[in-house]
């Protein structure tokens, strides 16, 4: 399965991150400089091709609604399997949805999880004229859960 992260309708932004500061407090000295001269702006994760049975989980939509959407997709009969993707903070929720689906299916659904790392880009905008605009990359974890019907034995 291709690693796919969408940003259009269902994008996943780690909400817990602090604003205007890099998340990883790696080097204190470098960060102080950044605060004075740069503003951090996060870019959207890279958009990748999306199939019809890909579901991107976010933290904004109601949990129940997302669960119902997955359930509906499975019940419709159009897809034998769906892929639930979650990035960063939404990993928890993706797992939760998948488990709930499985639990409610009386054993007819199975799940298979896959993890990956997504490279995200941050822009550092200079506040002063002398500063060059910089970009930084950081990595974030993502999960891709395949939920599929088991064959009736």
């Amino acid at each position: 399965m291709s690693l796919s992260l969408s940003s259009s309708s269902l994008y996943i932004l780690p909400v817990s991150m602090a604003e205007n500061q890099p998340t990883a407090p790696a080097s204190e000295g470098a960060m102080d400089m950044d605060q004075v001269e740069y503003t951090l702006r996060k870019r959207l994760p890279r958009k990748l091709p999306k199939r019809k049975n890909d579901i991107y989980v976010n933290m904004k939509t109601d949990f129940k609604a997302q669960l119902a959407r997955c359930q509906k997709m499975l019940d419709s009969g159009c897809f034998s399997e769906i892929c639930i993707h979650g990035l960063g903070l939404a990993i928890n929720r993706a797992i939760n949805i998948a488990l709930q689906l499985q639990g409610g299916s009386f054993g007819s659904l199975q799940i298979a999880a896959n993890t990956s790392t997504v490279e995200l880009v941050d822009d550092l905008e200079p506040e002063l004229d002398e500063g060059e605009p910089l970009t930084r990359t950081r990595n974030n974890s993502a999960i891709h859960i395949k939920v599929f019907h088991t064959l009736p034995q």
Binding site: S7, A18, D32, Q35, R43, K47, P49, D129, E132, P133
Partner: protein, 1028 residues
């Protein structure tokens, strides 16, 4: 007076065919008006000899009635009724005495009587026999009339045919004389149409897409342009969806471009006076200076940074041609809104020391505004046209206006400084700018344009003389390699799905082929091709580092190339003709080296940058095209699935991005002030069109200014308010103490109880209305009082106007904005997490910090975004208020509560309005001859213009404490936001008011405010966000 004259005319028309001796009714009419008629009537009327003066007239009337009843023709009826009217006017009150026996004369002289009757009968016969105008049909009884008779006279009875024939001839002759205008077919012929279009665009500039827009958009005339406001189709949501998921196209060619030429140092030195480092990066920012990306900033009047801004601009430096030549001239384009252009131009001339000296250089010739399409081409092409139909007459085809049609060609557009060598050039309408918004804008552009082909061998170059600029350009190897690189980047960018993934403001220069040649046959939707590109590494590098500065180079910067490109454009007609000669119809037309090569510039527009939510929303690309090529690019873009929006969609785009929209949301700029005055006038006119019962009474709602935002009063009153409570603020050291110690009488009262608040309110209103109450008591409003009232009002206004001219400014210091933005957040768990990362630069919210800001920025506004917590959608000019402690408690106890309510206000002006109305009603009864009273009345009505029922008169006081909650600001644009899914408002609050509010709020509710629409009593909770 006009009524009277109209009556007279009617009367004269009526009396046209009367015999001369029947004149009594004229005396009637005169009597009705002046009261001196009867004696005259006696003198002229022979038959009245034996009557008394009164009876003479009444008798005449009675006789007329008799005649009328004896011969009941329609004509007689008509006359009778009109006479009766005249009679009534004369008799007036003593009408009752006319009836009864006294009217019947005791004796009549037979000869005189018969003579009079004979004359009348003659007149009647004459009137009946002579049919005027279209009346020949009316002589037939209605049962015999037929519709077809009016155009076929043979259907008439034969006795009437003669008359009818005459009439019809007369009418047709008249028509012939009148119809000078040509037939529709003639008018729509290409030449005459072009002439008509050229005539119409002398007044307002037309964009090149004007005709296209005029067929599909509601057009408005604004800022000297004809612009599409919104599509005529229902597409509000469809446009939003295209912005979010597809692609919205907008013609921004009305934006003006000024080109500055000069050495880098001189330019930077001059321009530094207009900007400040405090408000972010300036013209000198490294990234922009290299030409790698576009910058944007707000310019100020020279050396007056925190005050007197001019407006926002975007700018673009031309990349250096040779990297080492730092001494060479640099080119800078400043793009701005047309409402701002004249202000900025004068300011630029000032700082660059460019005087209004016309340059003797070739400039006026070269950048001539109207470029003519070469005439010979059209003659060759126009084979079908019958140009020789008017034999001998040489038909000079009208030339199409490209560019600015309103400007006089002799006006200077270039200004040069003698001291530092800076040249300013006005490039208005020389370069077109299209904006594409949305994630698909990326693929729409890259499908529509294709990089120009490079001529393969030298012979091809020689054969074409016209397209020399490209073949010349191709001879230089380094430029060729640049072109190839640019083409590679174009290929690479196709693999990027959305413009949000590219670094903001990136510029890419390109030379492209004619986009008309590879148009799809039908309208298609461009879909990103996301099959994994071959070189992922390169793509990643591109996304990380952006496009290099050297690739931003484009020949569009060169004026000569631009002109050549504009002039050598192959016309649509010629292109179609060539297409028709293709062997296989519908295949791509291959022009080879004849194909035009157009230098363009692609500028990336960042989407929503500030804030947490929806980052990258509404990002897209701008294309800059040389003039003349507008439609050639427009249609291909639309054929790739772009939807077109107008001004309204542009405003929505900025609104959802949370940015201020230029003329509307810059209350401190001259253009913004003018705009607010205009909108206010428009809205008041609209308000006045409704009857008082069908429009909101804003006084009841406690809204003093429903059509504008009184920024000036707001900041002044807050300054006074804070100064009153300043001492206590200074005493308290910590915020918690401060919360209790700031004791402002207004604030104390504010949220307690509604009735108490309204009591206080009425107390407050009292000083402003002693004279009004007097007037309410006394029924008779004396004119003298009115006049003095009017004078007072004028005095107030004159006091206000000098202050109005510019004490209010908007806070744009980034450091301060960041600080206040941090303070406005509630200190929930999330907020504390941010506190952990808070470096030494962050100042905690404390009294001394607040005080220092208050001291240094007393009269400042701050741009805020309000998102409503629950229901409600705010609209423009809604009030932003401070919630009272009870309100916050209410919110805690019941999270679903809609919010507090304002109690209904009393309308102190209602009586006054009524009195004025009665007065106006009484006006026409007053005789016109009395001059002195007349003057007084007009002045009253002049004063009363300001007094509209339901609106506060112009002089307003106490804007902040007029209602039960303290006002801190106003909404300048608000709507239900389709991006967020709740009501959202953008507006300004007074800096002092905001600081006062947040320093008095408990930390977990910090940044909560109330919003109330102008025509509503309901306050809604909203969260204040300051995004930097």
């Amino acid at each position: 007076m006009s009524g009277v004259s109209r009556k007279e005319k009617k009367y004269a028309k009526l009396m046209r065919n009367q015999p001369s001796n029947i004149t009594f009714s004229s005396t009637d009419q005169m009597a009705g008006r002046s009261g001196m008629g009867p004696s005259e009537s006696q003198a002229t009327n022979p038959r009245c000899g034996s009557f008394t003066s009164l009876q003479g007239v009444t008798g005449g009337h009675v006789q007329q009635q008799q005649v009328g009843s004896a011969q009941p023709s329609s004509y007689g009826d008509h006359r009778r009724s009109s006479y009766r009217g005249g009679f009534r006017g004369y008799r007036g009150n003593s009408r009752g005495s006319c009836h009864g026996y006294s009217q019947i004369p005791k004796s009549i002289t037979a000869t005189a009587f018969a003579q009079a009757r004979a004359a009348e009968i003659n007149a009647m016969i004459k009137a009946v026999s002579h049919k005027s105008g279209s009346q020949f049909l009316q002589s037939l009884p209605p049962t015999m009339r037929r519709r077809a008779m009016s155009h076929n006279i043979k259907r008439l009875p034969r006795r009437l045919q003669e008359i009818a024939k005459k009439e019809v001839e007369k009418v047709s002759q008249l028509k012939k004389e009148q119809s000078k205008s040509k037939s529709r077919k003639a008018r729509r012929r290409h030449g005459s149409l072009l002439m008509e279009f050229n005539r119409r665009q002398r007044k307002n500039i037309w964009l090149e897409t004007h005709i296209w827009h005029a067929k599909r958009f509601h057009m408005v005339k604004k800022w000297g342009y004809c612009l599409g406001n919104k599509p005529t189709t229902k597409s509000y949501r469809a446009c939003y969806r295209s912005m979010t998921k597809q692609c919205l196209l907008q013609d921004l060619s009305y934006y003006c471009c000024l080109e500055l030429n000069g050495t880098e140092n001189n330019l930077l030195k001059a321009l530094a006076r207009l900007t400040s480092v405090d408000a972010g990066t300036t013209f000198a920012s490294v990234a922009c200076l290299s030409g790698k990306c576009q910058g944007s900033l707000v310019l100020y009047k020279a050396d007056q940074y925190p005050e007197k801004p001019l407006g926002p601009v975007t700018f673009l430096w031309r990349p250096k041609t040779q990297p080492d030549s730092s001494s060479g001239n640099r080119q800078l384009w400043i793009w701005m809104h047309p409402a701002l252009k004249m202000d900025l131009l004068t300011e630029l001339q000032l700082v660059c020391q460019c005087l209004d000296v016309p340059v003797p250089e070739p400039a006026p010739n070269e950048c001539k505004t109207i470029t003519y399409v070469p005439e010979k081409q059209t003659e060759v092409v126009g084979l079908k046209r019958k140009q020789q139909d008017k034999a001998g007459e040489v038909v000079i085809p009208e030339k199409k206006i490209i560019g600015n049609g309103t400007r006089d060609p002799s006006t200077t557009v270039v200004w040069t400084s003698l001291t530092n060598g800076i040249t300013i050039e006005d490039l208005t309408m020389e370069i077109l700018r299209y904006r594409l918004i949305g994630p698909l804008s990326h693929c729409v552009i890259f499908e529509a344009i294709q990089a120009a082909d490079v001529p393969k061998n030298s012979e091809e170059r020689e054969e074409t003389k016209m397209y020399c600029w490209w073949s010349e350009y191709c001879t230089q190897p380094e430029k060729m390699s640049l072109h190839n690189h640019q083409r590679d980047i174009l290929q690479l960018l196709l693999g990027v799905a959305s413009p949000a993934e590219i670094s903001a403001g990136t510029v890419l220069g390109l030379t492209v082929g004619d986009p008309r040649l590879n148009m799809p046959r039908n309208r298609t939707t461009a879909i990103p091709d996301l099959s994994q590109p071959e070189d992922l590494e390169k793509l990643r590098d591109l996304c990380l580092n952006g496009i290099g500065a050297e690739y931003a180079q484009s020949q569009i910067w060169d004026r000569n190339v631009r002109n050549v490109v504009t002039e050598t454009k192959i016309s649509e007609q010629k292109l179609n003709q060539m297409r028709s000669k293709l062997l296989v119809p519908g295949t791509r037309l291959d022009l080879g080296s004849q194909e035009s090569k157009i230098p363009i510039l692609l500028v990336h527009q960042p989407g929503k940058m500030a804030g947490q939510e929806h980052t990258g929303w509404g990002s897209g690309w701008d294309i800059l095209i040389p003039k003349g090529w507008g439609m050639a690019f427009w249609i291909p873009l639309i054929y790739r699935g772009a939807r077109v929006g107008g001004l309204q969609e542009g405003a929505k785009h900025t609104q959802y991005k949370g940015l201020p929209h230029f003329p509307d949301d810059f209350p401190d700029c001259p253009a913004g002030i003018q705009h607010s005055v205009e909108t206010k006038k428009e809205l008041i006119d609209k308000y006045n069109k409704y009857p008082p019962a069908k429009r909101p009474n804003y006084i009841h709602y406690g809204t003093m200014t429903p059509f504008r935002c009184p920024w000036q009063q707001l900041v002044e009153e807050w300054e006074a308010h804070i100064q009153a409570g300043d001492l206590k603020l200074a005493v308290s050291g910590k915020e918690q103490e401060l919360k209790f110690e700031v004791q402002n009488p207004n604030y104390k009262h504010a949220g307690v109880h509604e009735n108490k608040a309204s009591e206080e309110m009425s107390n407050k209103e009292k000083p402003s209305e002693p004279d009004e109450e007097m007037e309410e008591d006394s029924e008779s409003v004396t004119i003298l009082e009115r006049n003095t009232g009017c004078k007072n009002g004028k005095n107030v206004i004159t006091q206000d106007t000098p202050a109005e001219s510019g004490h209010v400014s908007v806070l744009r210091s980034r450091k301060l904005l960041k600080q206040i933005s941090m303070w406005c957040r509630p200190s929930s768990s999330r907020g504390q997490q941010t506190q952990r990362y808070r470096g030494p630069a962050q100042v905690p919210l404390a009294a001394d910090a607040v005080k220092s800001i208050i001291g240094s920025y007393p009269r400042f506004l701050i741009w805020v975004r309000l998102s409503l917590l629950k229901k409600g959608s705010p609209i423009a000019n809604a009030t932003i208020c401070v919630p009272s402690k009870e309100d916050l408690q209410l919110l805690v106890s019941d999270p679903n509560c809609p919010g507090p309510q304002e109690s209904k206000h009393r309308d102190p002006f209602k009586q006054k309005c009524k009195a004025l109305k009665n007065k106006k009603r009484a006006l026409p009864k007053v005789p016109e001859t009395t001059t002195a009273a007349d003057l007084g009345i007009t002045s009253v009505s002049g004063c009363g213009v300001n007094l509209v029922q339901g609106l506060w008169p112009d002089q307003i006081r106490n804007v902040i404490s007029h209602c039960s909650r303290l006002a801190i600001g106003y909404v300048s644009q608000g709507d239900f936001s389709l991006t967020v899914g709740c009501g959202e408002a953008l507006g300004f609050v007074s800096l002092l008011g905001l600081l006062h509010m947040i320093s008095n709020q408990p930390p977990n509710h910090r940044g909560l405010a109330l919003v109330r629409n102008p025509a509503s009593l309901q306050y809604r909770f909203a969260k204040i966000n300051i995004e930097v």
